[in-house]
């Protein structure tokens, strides 16, 4: 079986994935790997040859966070990947962090230049100014002042225009 996994934002191909009871084998970047599982209640230990690796995994909304000793990785969930791909285009303005919309400087329909202040997000008593990432027309603002938003959601749409000057 082939698998495609997005780990820390990069896409990797895993080939010949085979799970046989407590044994897993696969091919990655041309090399064969075999791992065994030793599980007791919620604790997961995997071994290759005699090497021990204690694996801790937790699921968040979009990822599975995997920690193995000093290694930390966020493996994206297949569905989340699709959702992201279908998300806003190049002119969309996404929230830099979860927070409150503290102030909006521009109105829908106005022309903006790259670097213009669009709005201020506020979280944990800290402000963050969001600026236009392209020249164009601000076609839509999805929130109003005082709204609370999650991180990485589309706040406004900017349509690049030829005459945007």
């Amino acid at each position: 079986m082939k698998r495609e996994l997005i780990i820390n934002g990069k896409t990797y191909q895993v080939d010949a994935v085979n799970m046989d009871g407590h044994e897993l084998s696969f091919v990655f970047e041309g090399k064969d790997y075999v791992f065994k599982q030793r599980k007791n209640k919620s604790r997961l230990v995997i071994t290759n040859d005699h090497l021990n690796h204690v694996v801790r995994c937790s699921r968040t909304a979009r990822n599975v966070q995997v920690n193995i000793g000093p290694l930390e990785a966020f493996v994206e969930l297949p569905g989340a990947v699709r959702a992201k791909k279908s998300g806003g285009g190049s002119g969309s303005l996404k929230s830099s962090m979860p927070g409150n919309i503290f102030k909006i400087f521009v109105t829908e329909g106005s022309l903006v230049k790259k670097g213009d202040k669009i709005l201020i997000l506020e979280a944990m008593k800290m402000e963050h100014t969001m600026t236009a990432n392209t020249d164009g027309r601000l076609t839509k603002i999805f929130y109003k002042e005082g709204d609370q938003v999650e991180g990485d959601v589309e706040l406004a749409a900017i349509t690049p225009e030829k005459d945007a000057e």
Binding site: I7, I46, Q65, V66, A73, A80
Partner: protein
């Protein structure tokens, strides 16, 4: 004698005070907002009262509500922690007027040190070296611009009324001054309900070195040595240590003597921290005094062996400090790393989520001061600091290595944190060499970049994920992702 303490704070510092109360056999009383019902400070205390929900002004900053709870439960002292009401002289006065001991300095000390103007003036008079700057009443924008030009760029704009990097801006040239001033004032207003700022000379390559001092009501003034807190992002400390790798025994003697002198001049009572700017030529300048316990106090505790919260309580009870200066020694080295819910790869902006698994370290000499436990939610309503990990060792190298391993043991899964970034700082060569200035992160950005994993490391991660997935099917198409989110959100109101 203090028998019952109300802790007017939340998170790790509230838990910290609970622990010492427990050791001293003192009944601890905590307060918590409805959002915080499942946080450890709400249930680890002996007694807890809900402050309801709403803005900070309605909960943790609601002086009348807190005073009324103190009366209701019969507390004979209030510990304010740090932040919140800890440096509020009005609150302090109200507390003492109600016949309750305030575990902290007098309102006079707070007033003096809280406004940076008079404090610097007073220190300069007493021949304590101070940094050049303008600390006046005139808050007119144009006038402040003029002052900045007189001092000479680069300058630092700082909120008079607070700390923690809020309302603070470095300005390198006159053209950037007006915007920076406006932003600083607005942040200051939001954070401290006071938009007054001061301007001072910015020393670009300097160290932040501070001295822990203590005074009692019997005229004793002691220091518990220094802490170096130069590793900062957005003017907020993220790594602190003691001893400072920069101080020679002579400089240590000089800077600690200055700090004790500051405490003595103002007749300081309780725990305080005198902060200095330490430049490349080994000059130090008085910066400010924090009239409360500091976030980074554990490194001092681990190196001196004293419980600073216990000393605070004893001093507030009117006892004399139970120790002589000569009995306070530095043994070994301690380093603290602050775990923030933030994304170092996204300008250190805050993150939120549900903490699924904190983890726990098996390394000796490692201490975790956490305000959260498993399945707690991190929201945008409070400070993004989740916990502090502190490691002690016989040498700086041992402390550093223990801290690095300790950080591996506490992944704080579920919320993006700065943990990996802290590891990169701690394992970097400049940190190892003690080349620690407040510009550290900007200066050594390239050294601090995340490295790519090798193919064998990636294979291990892939294997871990696939085994996990086998027993816990994961996918995030619209429906299940929504469900997962609902489940997580559900914890909030349980």
């Amino acid at each position: 004698m203090i028998r019952k303490i109300l802790i007017a704070n939340r998170g790790e510092i509230a838990v910290r005070v609970i622990n010492t109360c427990r050791e001293m056999g003192i009944t601890s009383v905590t307060v918590y907002s409805e959002d915080d019902t499942n946080l450890p400070h709400a249930f680890l205390s002996d007694e807890a009262y809900c402050l309801g929900s709403g803005a900070l002004a309605d909960t943790y900053l609601n002086q009348d509500k807190i005073l009324s709870i103190a009366g209701q439960c019969g507390a004979d002292a209030i510990h304010p922690g740090y932040g919140f009401l800890s440096e509020n002289p009005l609150f302090c006065e109200k507390v003492t007027t109600a016949g309750i001991a305030f575990i902290g300095p007098t309102p006079e000390s707070m007033l003096l040190m809280g406004d940076k103007i008079t404090s610097k003036k007073k220190m300069a008079e007493a021949a304590i070296p101070v940094i050049p700057g303008y600390n006046g009443d005139n808050q007119d924008n144009a006038f402040l611009m003029g002052q900045a030009e007189t001092i000479g760029f680069p300058v630092l704009i700082k909120a008079s009324g607070g700390g923690g990097g809020k309302g603070m801006r470095v300005v390198h040239q006159a053209a950037d001054f007006p915007d920076a001033l406006e932003g600083a004032k607005r942040e200051a207003q939001n954070a401290f309900s006071n938009d007054r700022v001061l301007i001072e000379k910015y020393v670009p390559r300097s160290r932040h070195i501070e001295v822990q001092v203590f005074g009692d009501t019997h005229g004793n003034y002691l220091h518990f040595f220094e802490r170096e807190c130069s590793i900062q992002r957005r003017h907020q400390k993220i790594i602190e240590e003691t001893p400072s790798p920069a101080l020679t025994p002579e400089k240590r003697a000089a800077i600690t003597a200055s700090a004790v002198e500051v405490a003595r001049i103002i007749g300081y009572v309780g725990a305080g921290t005198v902060e200095f700017i330490y430049d490349e030529a080994d000059n130090f300048y008085f910066l400010e005094m924090n009239t409360r316990l500091q976030v980074e106090h554990p490194v001092t505790e681990m190196v001196t062996g004293f419980d600073l919260v216990r000393l605070q309580i004893e001093v507030a009870a009117g006892e004399a400090l139970p120790v002589q200066q000569a009995d306070i020694r530095q043994t070994g080295h301690a380093i603290e790393a602050r775990i923030y819910a933030e994304d170092p790869d996204n300008e250190f902006l805050p993150t939120t989520g549900v903490i699924e698994q904190i983890g726990m370290s098996r390394i000796n000499g490692v201490r975790l001061d956490s305000g959260f436990c498993d399945s707690n939610r991190v929201t945008i309503n409070y400070d993004p600091m989740l916990a502090k990990l502190i490691a002690h060792g016989m040498t700086r190298t041992e402390a550093r290595e223990r801290l690095l391993l300790g950080l591996d043991d506490i992944p704080f899964q579920g919320v993006k944190t700065n943990r990996d970034f802290l590891k990169r700082v701690l394992s970097s060569r400049p940190f190892n060499e003690g080349n620690t200035f407040t510009t550290f992160i900007a200066e050594f950005g390239s050294v601090l970049a995340k490295r790519d994993y090798s193919n064998d490391e990636l294979a291990l991660i892939i294997a871990g994920f696939l085994f996990y997935e086998k027993d816990t099917p994961v996918s995030a198409d619209e429906t299940t992702a929504q469900n997962a989110w609902d489940i997580i959100s559900g914890f909030r109101n349980v």
